[in-house]
């Protein structure tokens, strides 16, 4: 069947800044009486002229940075908010999974919550009755199904919630990052279930930062940037193009743009260089920081990420706060002995904070560096990411 499941034509969404705020009626009234003329609200377009269509059974991955308009698009297609212009035509029953466990109530038992959650996601009672045993079996919480979920561990809670989501009957599914739940083992099962769903002829729109998952699950890809579609093609094309864009915009060094808001402790500059030879390469970063307010003594952490934005490793050279507010300006040199990485471009994120839960500043994917040589001497055949990013030193001995 080549039926169009979704047709999106020129979808645009304008937000008026200030309109999104929760107001107080009393304020509103007093402004009215004082005759305070209001400044015209600032506007911005979260989505501009987005068009695409999706045939039945296709799996579309939407990629884009934070603020690119991915969530706005999902919100419009889920009918949580209406577009300012354009239209979308949806053929069939559409269910959006923007999170798992929507509507779960801690006082209710697992069984009760399954019915509640599935009904909220648009399932009929008969359908739930029929699938109930599968859902419970998938979640692995059989023994606790009649226990209030407030007594569940967070892992059990998420597993039950995902189990419901995974058994949703719909013609079209909108999925947002729900894969990022649970422990590794469960994530694997979720991914398996997702590809089962994707291959099962269901039409799926999938938004994720996980480019590997997108590559594995999707047939089509769409890149959004600043609310506009910059590329629409196969998933493979979209993922590669996204990685290129992501790298192309970054350099070896980073300077704080003037429009970035001030912070008590702000990273103002990062420069990077690589020293040494494979397999002993060191990433050296010089980080300049300025304390313009009071903050607790801070320490620094550096993440190294693959081009798609998935972290490969994190280095925290010192765990105690050594950046004191009293010093005002700081220059910190971090050197990281990289593991033997395959050739390619990598990104680094620099974070400063006073505690692992207390971020003072963070520059995500601020600098890029490139590794050109293979970590294995004499290797002539190329490396591919399908086998991972690290080539550990290894030895072999033929015993017989």
């Amino acid at each position: 069947m080549t039926d169009r499941a979704i047709t999106v034509e020129g979808l645009s969404k304008r937000y008026r800044l200030g309109q999104l705020h929760v107001n107080l009626l009393s304020e509103h009234l007093s402004n009215l009486f004082r005759g305070k003329n209001r400044t015209p609200p600032q506007e911005f377009w979260a989505l501009q002229n987005v068009s695409f269509d999706l045939a039945e059974g296709e799996v579309l991955g939407i990629i884009g940075r934070n603020g690119a308009g991915k969530s706005t698009l999902l919100k419009i297609l889920s009918r949580l908010t209406s577009p300012t212009r354009g239209r979308a035509t949806v053929r069939g029953r559409l269910t959006s999974l923007l999170e798992v466990g929507t509507g779960f109530h801690p006082e209710l038992t697992g069984r009760e919550n399954v019915y509640l959650n599935a009904t909220i996601l648009g399932m009929r009672r008969r359908e739930i009755d029929r699938k109930f045993d599968d859902i419970v079996a998938f979640s692995g919480v059989e023994g606790f199904i009649d226990t209030p979920v407030k007594r569940y561990s967070s892992g059990m809670y998420v597993r039950l919630a995902f189990a419901v989501a995974a058994h949703i009957e719909a013609d079209i599914l909108l999925v947002d990052e729900v894969l990022a739940v649970g422990d590794a083992e469960f994530q694997k099962r979720c991914l398996g279930k997702m590809s089962e769903v994707a291959r099962g002829g269901r039409t799926v729109i999938f938004v994720s930062h996980n480019l590997l998952a997108l590559r594995a699950l999707c047939t089509r890809g769409l890149i959004l940037d600043k609310g506009e579609v910059v590329l629409s093609g196969t998933a493979e094309e979209a993922v590669s193009a996204y990685e290129l864009r992501n790298l192309g915009e970054r350099g070896r060094s980073w300077n704080r743009p003037a429009e970035m808001p001030a912070r008590d402790l702000a990273i103002t500059e990062i420069t990077s260089r690589l020293t040494g030879q494979q397999p002993n390469i060191t990433l050296e970063l010089d980080v300049t920081l300025v304390s313009s307010g009071e903050h607790k003594p801070a320490f620094i952490a550096v993440d190294v990420l693959e081009p798609g934005g998935t972290a490969i490793l994190q280095a925290i050279p010192r765990l105690d706060g050594f950046i004191d507010a009293a010093d005002r300006s700081h220059l910190v040199s971090v050197s990281i002995e990289l593991p033997p990485l395959i050739p390619g471009e990598y990104l680094a994120t620099v974070w400063v904070g006073s505690h692992n839960t207390q971020t003072l500043d963070e520059v995500r994917e601020g600098v890029v560096f490139e590794i050109t040589d293979s970590p294995t001497e004499g290797r002539t055949f190329p490396h591919t990411r399908d086998h991972g990013y690290v080539v550990p030193r290894s030895r072999v001995e033929k015993k017989r």
Partner: protein, 281 residues
């Protein structure tokens, strides 16, 4: 693909900028009936699961208010009671009043209180205040049993008029829903409505014949008094249950007209702001 999915397969949803009349899509509302029932069931379950006294709470509140009204208004102030024992007079009004007060405050918080739901999944938003207005009927039913007990105690038998009670109950539901729709939608936009509602409810009680009988209101002010739609509802309840003074038809008519105006304007305002709920909340 399953039967249901393929049966609904031809369902086409068009998502476009809002325009024109914002009538409630009743067919859509009907297709969400299971969600409505489930939300009512959830409210009831959670309410009676959480508190040990559970159902007891639904009894204690009207009993206490009945006793206080009888003491303060019946004994100390010596207000007339239309020839029925003051506790019965008070309780017959407390029934619709408590229902209204609770439904109003619950429904005005229904959207803000369900923000987790509203920002994540689509359903006709009107289901939320609707579910609160219906789940309030459970407490109403419990209080009704109390009223029957008190009436038996005072040996008051209801007359044929009691068959009109469902009509007045329906009117009470409509008043609660009508005002609730306004407050729910306003509450999303203006968060201080949360603080205004309890105050409003308190004032409203004294402006309604709950603790006293309509007969103490001077005749020339009756029409004005009838602008409060609860006057019609409470007078109706007293008449249907105790049957002493028939409610004036013009009172009922004015009350009804006011309810209809509040209901449709509330529905319009609700529908108009509905599409921005997920953005603001």
């Amino acid at each position: 693909m399953t039967d249901t999915a393929s049966r609904e397969h031809q369902r086409i949803t068009v998502i476009a900028p809002p325009e024109g009349v914002l009538a409630i899509d009743f067919a859509e509302l009907w297709s969400y009936r299971e969600l409505l029932l489930l939300l009512i069931w959830r409210d009831a379950t959670v309410r009676y699961k959480q508190s040990v006294v559970g159902i007891g709470w639904a009894l204690i509140q009207p009993v206490m208010m009945m006793i206080i009204f009888t003491l303060v208004f019946g004994h100390f102030a010596g207000l007339p009671s239309e020839g029925v024992p003051y506790p019965v007079l008070a309780l017959s009004a407390l029934l619709p009043w408590n229902y209204f007060a609770r439904s109003l405050s619950d429904s005005s918080n229904s959207l803000v209180g369900s923000s987790a739901l509203v920002t994540k999944i689509y359903f006709p938003r009107v289901i939320l205040p609707l579910s609160k207005v219906f789940s309030g009927l459970i407490d109403f039913a419990i209080a009704f049993v109390l009223l029957i007990a008190v009436m038996i105690w005072y040996r008051i038998a209801p007359s044929w008029r009691i068959i009109t009670l469902p009509a007045f109950t329906a009117m009470a539901i409509l008043v609660a829903l009508a005002v609730g729709l306004w407050m729910t939608a306003l509450n999303v936009r203006y968060r201080d409505v949360t603080f205004i509602v309890p105050f409003l409810v308190q004032l409203w009680m004294y402006a309604s014949p709950v603790a006293y009988s309509t007969s103490i209101v001077p005749a020339r002010w009756r029409w004005f008094y009838a602008l409060n739609p609860l006057t019609g509802v409470i007078d109706g309840f007293r008449w249907a249950l105790l049957g002493r003074t028939a409610p004036r038809l013009d009172t009922i008519a004015i009350s009804l007209a006011i309810v209809v105006v509040i209901f449709f304007s509330g529905l319009y305002y609700f529908r108009r702001t509905e599409r921005t709920f997920a953005d603001i909340i």
